[in-house]
Subunit: 180 residues, 2 copies
DNA sequence: TAAGATTGAGGTATCAATCTTG
DNA sequence: CAAGATTGATACCTCAATCTTA
């Protein structure tokens, strides 16, 4: 503890606690087990687990953070192999300032490069370097295998299909919710 | 750009780009649209969107970050209304050092308090204060309404059920994947 | 004026090292 | 020595302000 007062000492079982019997409790004691809250919690936990495991594996096998891999995938998917800083930021939910430094780090690592845009001199393109393409190819193999192990393996074919359907509905046709 | 060389100027459409025709391309050009990768991407995007929207709404209406709310929910759910620092960190996927400062901030805001553990003097309990309980109750109402709007509304009843089933399988009986 | 990108300031996480207790 | 919590160093993000160009 940095600067707060020392914690009060309590015996192990001497506190009268509000027992969570659903009928007589305060609102929060009922709602903490609300089905909707549990669903949101599952989504958060699943995301935390998967990004942690897949990120660790990717870092160990290819030496690349998961965020970098995601950037490379979005560049590789793009129409002409490049995106502006703004487009990239919108696609991966990172603010303008965050993208500037993220691309800085990846540029220093030799994975991407900036290219000026002739038709709009405010914009800057980002594109994969040859080294970036090679790294993406290696990372892709590891990552797909990781998804098989950690995301697909625990699910049946039906689970996978309906999960994809539900998540697609959560992302399609929603307000952009711009990060920056 | 901080210290890298100036970006090369290119005309708008004069770069010979590897067109993504699936048969003749490099491996990464095929795999970036792999179904498994798209599924993982959907999970990441859904999580980013929902935590951003719900976090913004919670911050605006109650003045509490989403992380604090999650901490309060886990404390309210716990057996005796308290968890050790370690238990809390494991439940919400935050490292030991991260939990120390997170609880510091929430203590300073008056929402939680530390309590020494008589039976194991290494451990420290965290529990909601009365103010924390009141804040949780207000935040809960806002948050459940937000979940209704942003997570449940776009889904059918079947979608919701199968989403819960799939996510539960991703979290139950998996390796703990400790953060710290 | 607005849009795109960058910068500086500040917040919060991780990691590794340390201290206390079992 | 191992486990629990804290601290210092560091990484990376957001926000607000600024600069350049449309």
């Amino acid at each position: 503890m940095s600067d707060s007062a020392a914690p009060a000492v309590v015996e192990d079982a001497d506190r009268d606690v509000e027992v969570p019997s659903p009928e007589t409790c305060t609102a929060w004691a009922r709602d903490v087990n609300d089905e909707r809250l549990l669903l949101m919690g599952l989504l958060i936990e699943s995301h935390a687990r998967l990004t942690r495991v897949l990120g660790n594996e990717l870092e160990a096998s290819v030496g690349v953070p998961l965020t970098w891999f995601i950037v490379m995938v979005h560049l590789a998917r793009s129409e002409r192999g490049r995106l502006t800083m703004s487009q990239l930021g919108t696609e991966i939910s990172v603010t303008s300032g965050g993208i500037t430094r993220l691309v800085d780090r990846m540029t220093e690592a030799g994975l991407v490069e900036r290219e000026s845009c002739a038709s709009d001199r405010r914009a800057i393109y980002v594109a994969l370097t040859p080294q970036g393409e090679a790294t993406l190819e290696r990372a892709m193999a590891e990552h797909l295998a990781g998804i098989d192990r950690h995301l697909l393996a625990p699910l049946t074919e039906d689970d996978r299909a309906s999960l994809a359907i539900a998540l697609r509905k959560l992302n399609d046709g929603q307000d952009p919710v711009c990060p920056g």
